[in-house]
Symmetry: D3
Subunit: 236 residues, 6 copies
Amino acid sequence: MLNVVVTDPPRADLALVDMLAGYGTATVHEAIGRRGYLGPAIRPVQAGKRVAGTALTVVCWPGDNLMLHVAVEQARPGDIVVVTSSSPSTDGYFGELIATSLAAHGVRGIVMGAGLRDTHELREMEFPAWTANVSAQGTVKETAGAVNVPVAIGGVTIRPGDAIVADDDGVCAVPRVDVANAVAASRSRAAKEEETRKQLADGILGLDLYGLRPKLTSVEYITAAEYARRAGEIPE
Amino acid sequence: MLNVVVTDPPRADLALVDMLAGYGTATVHEAIGRRGYLGPAIRPVQAGKRVAGTALTVVCWPGDNLMLHVAVEQARPGDIVVVTSSSPSTDGYFGELIATSLAAHGVRGIVMGAGLRDTHELREMEFPAWTANVSAQGTVKETAGAVNVPVAIGGVTIRPGDAIVADDDGVCAVPRVDVANAVAASRSRAAKEEETRKQLADGILGLDLYGLRPKLTSVEYITAAEYARRAGEIPE
Amino acid sequence: MLNVVVTDPPRADLALVDMLAGYGTATVHEAIGRRGYLGPAIRPVQAGKRVAGTALTVVCWPGDNLMLHVAVEQARPGDIVVVTSSSPSTDGYFGELIATSLAAHGVRGIVMGAGLRDTHELREMEFPAWTANVSAQGTVKETAGAVNVPVAIGGVTIRPGDAIVADDDGVCAVPRVDVANAVAASRSRAAKEEETRKQLADGILGLDLYGLRPKLTSVEYITAAEYARRAGEIPE
Amino acid sequence: MLNVVVTDPPRADLALVDMLAGYGTATVHEAIGRRGYLGPAIRPVQAGKRVAGTALTVVCWPGDNLMLHVAVEQARPGDIVVVTSSSPSTDGYFGELIATSLAAHGVRGIVMGAGLRDTHELREMEFPAWTANVSAQGTVKETAGAVNVPVAIGGVTIRPGDAIVADDDGVCAVPRVDVANAVAASRSRAAKEEETRKQLADGILGLDLYGLRPKLTSVEYITAAEYARRAGEIPE
Amino acid sequence: MLNVVVTDPPRADLALVDMLAGYGTATVHEAIGRRGYLGPAIRPVQAGKRVAGTALTVVCWPGDNLMLHVAVEQARPGDIVVVTSSSPSTDGYFGELIATSLAAHGVRGIVMGAGLRDTHELREMEFPAWTANVSAQGTVKETAGAVNVPVAIGGVTIRPGDAIVADDDGVCAVPRVDVANAVAASRSRAAKEEETRKQLADGILGLDLYGLRPKLTSVEYITAAEYARRAGEIPE
Amino acid sequence: MLNVVVTDPPRADLALVDMLAGYGTATVHEAIGRRGYLGPAIRPVQAGKRVAGTALTVVCWPGDNLMLHVAVEQARPGDIVVVTSSSPSTDGYFGELIATSLAAHGVRGIVMGAGLRDTHELREMEFPAWTANVSAQGTVKETAGAVNVPVAIGGVTIRPGDAIVADDDGVCAVPRVDVANAVAASRSRAAKEEETRKQLADGILGLDLYGLRPKLTSVEYITAAEYARRAGEIPE
């Protein structure tokens, strides 16, 4: 459904979304059943930032950032802008000017499925950004696309209003209806991890802690000499 | 034209080139009509550096850096070395030793279309470098190529003596004959951007500032409920 | 040879391995005849770390990190864990929890041919890591693989007990039987490089220092005017 | 929503879907507003096949094809199976055996976002297949995923029951609610193209036929001599 | 161990290797425990060929095919040449001339980890070839490498004399000491597949044939209406 | 220099260009000094075609094929259209309609640096095409670019009027001023290859035919037993 702007998508409860920010991408992704990760191609522009917000989605035509300007008008405080191009593109759809505009409207960051630029300035402004490409290549402002429709990045479909969590490990999307559960599950997982960390730091093996030895029934423990014999490595 | 070294390519005026350094890759690229960007594959080795210089171009055979040594003799203060291999290669053609040599001859940095190494040492030396690959893989010094002939990286043809601007967003080449215009256009664009930034920071929409609303005649603004209806999302 | 764990692979002498750490990936790789480099796809998670250790190799099934837990039990102080998946995968097989466990058993770092996560935490823990991908995507712990069998990453076969050297330029593997020679050759090369660096810093050309001019017999030195004439660039 | 099998997704009307098969990927994609194309990474295994069907979607874990077997039981005549793995994978999830099974249940083809094998046999069986990778690498059958939930390939979200059109140019998905419109629009577009083809074959220019000349106001028509002058190509 | 030519590597028994050719890459790979597949990047130049032979391994420097000429002298009837470059390269190391030479010495085909050319002529000559790249880019003949040492392609280490099986699905390497077992296991697997194929063609489900239902305990079978409810798809 | 159309670029002599078609990409590329190959990313749409023509160059904006229509008006019989997009793009800029138009104006084929579609129809029409991507994704006709300016694909700069040779191995560009020499050198090389082929078919080694043995002074010929000893493969 191109050329539509959805004006009032229901958004995840920002109080719950804020709680997600404490846990980070990997924990939240695990907590909701290993779902929602946008994949290793979406990398942070800065180091050490962890943010969460509600998805304001944007579909641009390749080499055209018109809809980003349309998106600013739809922004609500707490949003994170999530952008795709309608076909693969590495161009720089976004830079410090639009960042300035988004920040002025309370947007917390951007997740860019195409490319962005002004990375030095974005770091100085402390406007958090994740992107598939850094590119100075400019775009035009000619062709209409869509705002606040579902988009797909890295095999994950993101709907407007979903929660977005992003940090040094990349970006995870949590469906709006699952956010409350995600907070609870993340809290629980983080607590468990804290306990596990202590035991592992004490030298206890994961094999024992997680009870993994029964899964190794097919594994043979052999010596290096036996390995060499089987591999035929004795010179002939 | 392989196996030639052009000894006296006309170079862009260094005084003008130095002015370009103040604007950075994205601004210069925009100012000259969205041209000259070497693409998102050429990334900085360090963060936060912005340099400009005149292109000293080098064509190497794959896995062979002989011509980089030839290039040092052709270097003039203010040059930036721009290197390609005659077929795709990720090897490390360049490291701290050649950087030391280039620096001793007044070269300001390197743009590498293949690969380089010693990134830690390059950062410590503060020798600015942009590259498609970081690789410790060494090269031989056997086969002759060319110096100061046109080369192409990322779909952009760079001629010896062209201006090179490079920063965290990558690298832009400005044809020698366009450098004076590029300085003027960059100055003008930067001034305009400064003004735009202020207005956007005040919350004025880009839609209004740039007069983009007439381009949205095909766009429908609809509610989330209407979107769901059209998408057939009511369960059947 | 899947589903085996080799319990006592001979390891390179740790005293020698420690000496390698002083030289870094590029020097060691050169010193042993331009061999052993795992390629430009394996990148450091942190900047500025240089480590060496003995390879503890792990073969995982795609999306399954069971064998990493098995590997912890086989770890000896001084090891560096080297992990591959049995088919291409970008998932996050490794994060701060297993890092905590490995560190508790004296492991010095990890080289990951697939993907890892918790990069922020790994940097805070100062657990050095090199990887082909950063990904928050979690893995299961279901299917058995192998520990301490030969693995191949980036066209290099790494055997358990080989020496691993890793820094900002990536990772180099030194066959166990070659480690003593590698130390000697690296020392010699580093000394020679120190001498070369001084001469290059004084402005001496590599062309003269390395005696490269005889390799340029096929090269013509021409003027820009002559180049233009041959290239047919005079307008017709 | 992992670990669910949706048993009765509404499917597009097969009579309408069959009409789409007459038009092919490019025409249908254009007819519905340049949407739905799964991108250039999904390539045909065979040449010259054009099929359409209703999407039976499958989400597998990496290296695990258990859910493909689950999908067979959900198949209805006219379906095309659309498969993704929950993280990037190139393995061979599908080959002649599952093709035999799917064919026995009336399935018309497969669209594989990961990898498949037995390409020679698939061509001999005339079971049409499109895939991102050909790989002999086998998979396990251990971990549950989902059937008939929305999946995303190449930035396109495909819902169960959507229409799939596939040919030598790749694969296009048409939302179920848009299929009737897509047939009408494709018919109209094909008729118009037939007329256009005749005019172009007669030598009429697209510039005139499509009325494009007004879009060229910024274009200068210049001679080669003028171009050379501006490019500074006269030797100095 | 560079710059060595191993003159008499033990080779797999050619009578056994010939038996492997009857089964093809996917079956053999499965039969030996899902090992040995060189990955999806190595593609056939022709369609419909299935060959097996003994590996004659070659390591070339990038852009240099000298060692292919050295390899011809080491060739024995029944060999398949397996080539890597010592760093990533796409150049055309091999074409119809070396194919003519190899064919004259009884070599059955080539597996190229870098690139090759003259694909039209290779198909006309019926010299089977698999390659990571097709490239007309020529190479020099300057720098010595190695013949008949272990090489690694796609994460698989191939030793000289190992069996190679190649067809439309790519290439599989079988360690020399495992070839007899591989023949037996392939025969057994093929027989079992034949039986399975019949049952699947009769419409029996893989779920039942392979006894997979117990693995689906975590799976819920739900209606589309229930799915929509959980996904929050009822418009608000 | 964007937004220009050069109307009368000097073209290579078509009689000479036609002679090049007899030799093919690899031979011509070798004959002119291993230059001009557009790289392995540009692949033929059809098999078995070998064509030559004069380059009619086109620069499009991403996702916009307006300038292809402009190019038709500039076409001369014997031209081959060479297209780039001003930033990386995989979209389908070209299909059967524009092919029909180009064919009506005597154009012999297309070389596409972005993407094209209607591959089935192009093969049926016998309109030869080479491309980096096949994609059904449509483009708009909005933004002006350039015709008959230099373009760069795969590191090669192609000027309007250069000769283009294309076949199953890809595409080679020959500078206009070098075409006569290229014909002579290709003829000479082809004759020499024919002689070489006979000798190699008779079993004469390339090592002897090309006199390569002096380049192997650093090579040791050793037995497999000696190799194993040096590699430390005797079990300990």
